[in-house]
Amino acid sequence: MELDSARTEAWLRAAAAAVTAQEAELTALDTAIGDGDHGSNLRRGFTAVLAGLDAGEGGNTAGTDRSPGSLLAAAGRTLISTVGGASGPLYGSALRAAGRALPGATAGPGELAAALDEALGAVQALGGARPGDKTMVDAWAPAAAAFAETAGQGLAAASGAAAAAAEQGARATVPLVARKGRASYLGPRSAGHLDPGAASTALLFTALAEACREP
């Protein structure tokens, strides 16, 4: 199985559905150690991504050649233009970087592994967070690593492994003391809470796994 434009679109739509369904949960996490807007931020952004997909964004001017890369890049631009906050530029840059790394009409697991790594690189370049800082990096990094490790087993297996790793990485943020983002202002009081961005990253990888499930 390859990642084609249909699967990419399915991924983005599944992600939109997930963040919308989980808006309250994401916001609750952000209320505990942040400013209570992560859920509404992502719902707003992914609602705009959906609207863009419906309007044919991510294609050429005729709207025909919607490649995985162009779809992801367009979604990234939309997130940057509609989310705001920390997560807007971070997720937006991540998707743009992934999109740039996928120039072809379809992408194999190896190519997608590289693209996910580019995305992680963009998040780290922009935000300066390292693993253990209690941010989305703590979900994204193990997910990208798991995907790369299992890429040889095909898209479905690799996405599934990445989703599981992201979920685990997110859960592992609970005991951490935040060093980046708003939660860092709480100092030691940030420990004991799941990082909202790590939680939403897990949703994105679960959405990818859904979109790439064997039929």
């Binding site: 209320t31 209570g36 807007d37 530029p89 935000g127 060093r179 980046k180």
Partner: protein, 331 residues
């Protein structure tokens, strides 16, 4: 949640409509979410653009006008604006003198303004940035997000706005802004939590006899809980915390801002100011200028912050310079 809103989704748009109706001297672009002076600054004047999440009113939209900001970009509640807004603002207010972004130091604000600066540079708009990070409650190191920007933002915007109005070039205005920020320290305590409309309940629960000390302006809890005490003791603690970090010497002069967090009655803010003034007098720090009121707020949070900016002749001159904005006006 009891709020005078139509819905959490429309609160920012609705407030902008009200701002436009109330202030014909402002041009409010509700689509681009840019608030600017209806009458643009002089050609070649360095233009000041600020912005940040909504919920801190009058910051920033209430500080747009002659002598202060040229434009403000309000984001969603407690959410930094998107780069498109700052780019639209920069395009609208640049008259050839370039644009100064006044950015409160939060990861989101910093990144979104940085992206906007890149985009503006691509359009040959000269951009400089002043980062405001005055909150001593937050540890500052290269491994953290650094100090938050809070009350000092008002002082930076006022002083830099005045200098820009005098015709100083962008680089000088930026340097002054950085100098004012470096001369400023703030600290805040909260008696109640803010309720974000989209969340629907307070950000944290506080018992009747406890406060959060070292809070920010985004509804987040503070560094620690403390017992509620008389205003005198709270003010003393806040003054001492700021002084300990500030390194002011006896004889130094300051601009002092006692700022309400949005739901604090003015009667109480004056009580606090009296205690702050007494404590500063003990420390032989002279209050050269002061401001008491709800200026850099956190929705419906009760509590106060203190900002002290070391003053010198130039800064006082800029502080005293005329300003005509919805929230700050003198001549």
């Amino acid at each position: 949640m009891k709020k005078l809103i139509n819905s959490p989704e429309t609160v920012v748009a609705d407030a902008l409509a009200g701002l436009a109706a109330a202030h014909p001297e402002l041009a409010v672009d509700t689509a681009a979410r840019v608030v600017r002076r209806a009458r643009p600054g002089a050609p070649g004047k360095a233009a000041l653009v600020s912005g940040g999440g909504s919920g801190h009113e009058p910051l920033h939209v209430g500080f747009v006008g002659p002598g202060m900001l040229d434009a403000a970009c309000p984001g969603e509640v407690f959410t930094s604006p998107v780069p498109d807004q700052m780019l639209a603002a920069a395009r609208a207010v640049d008259t050839g003198g370039g644009v100064l972004f006044v950015v409160k130091n939060y990861t989101g604000d910093v990144m979104n303004f940085a992206l906007a600066a890149e985009l503006a540079a691509e359009e040959d708009i000269e951009v400089a940035t002043v980062l405001v990070d005055d909150d001593v409650a937050v540890q500052d190191s290269t491994f953290t997000a650094g100090r938050r920007g809070t009350g000092a933002t008002l002082v930076v915007e006022k002083a830099a706005g005045a200098l820009a109005e005098l015709g100083a070039p962008l680089a000088e205005v930026a340097a002054l802004g950085r100098r004012v920020n470096a001369a400023s320290r703030s600290y805040a305590v909260a008696l109640t939590a803010a309720t974000v409309p989209a969340v629907g309940r307070p950000g944290f629960d506080l018992p009747e006899d406890e406060i959060e000390a070292g809070v920010g302006i985004h509804g987040e809890p503070g560094r620690r809980r403390e017992p509620l005490r008389p205003a005198r003791e709270l003010a003393a603690e806040v003054v001492d915390t700021v002084l300990a970090d500030h390194g002011l010497a006896p004889g130094d002069e300051v601009i002092a801002l006692v700022n309400g967090m949005g739901a604090t009655p003015l009667l109480e803010l004056y009580v606090v100011f009296g205690e702050v003034a007494a404590r500063l007098a003990d420390a032989e720090v002279r209050i050269a200028r002061s401001l008491v009121g709800n200026y850099v707020t956190s929705l419906d949070m009760a509590g106060f912050s203190l900002t002290l900016t070391r003053a010198d002749a130039e800064l006082l001159r800029l502080w005293d310079a005329p300003v005509a904005t919805p929230a700050l006006t003198w001549s």
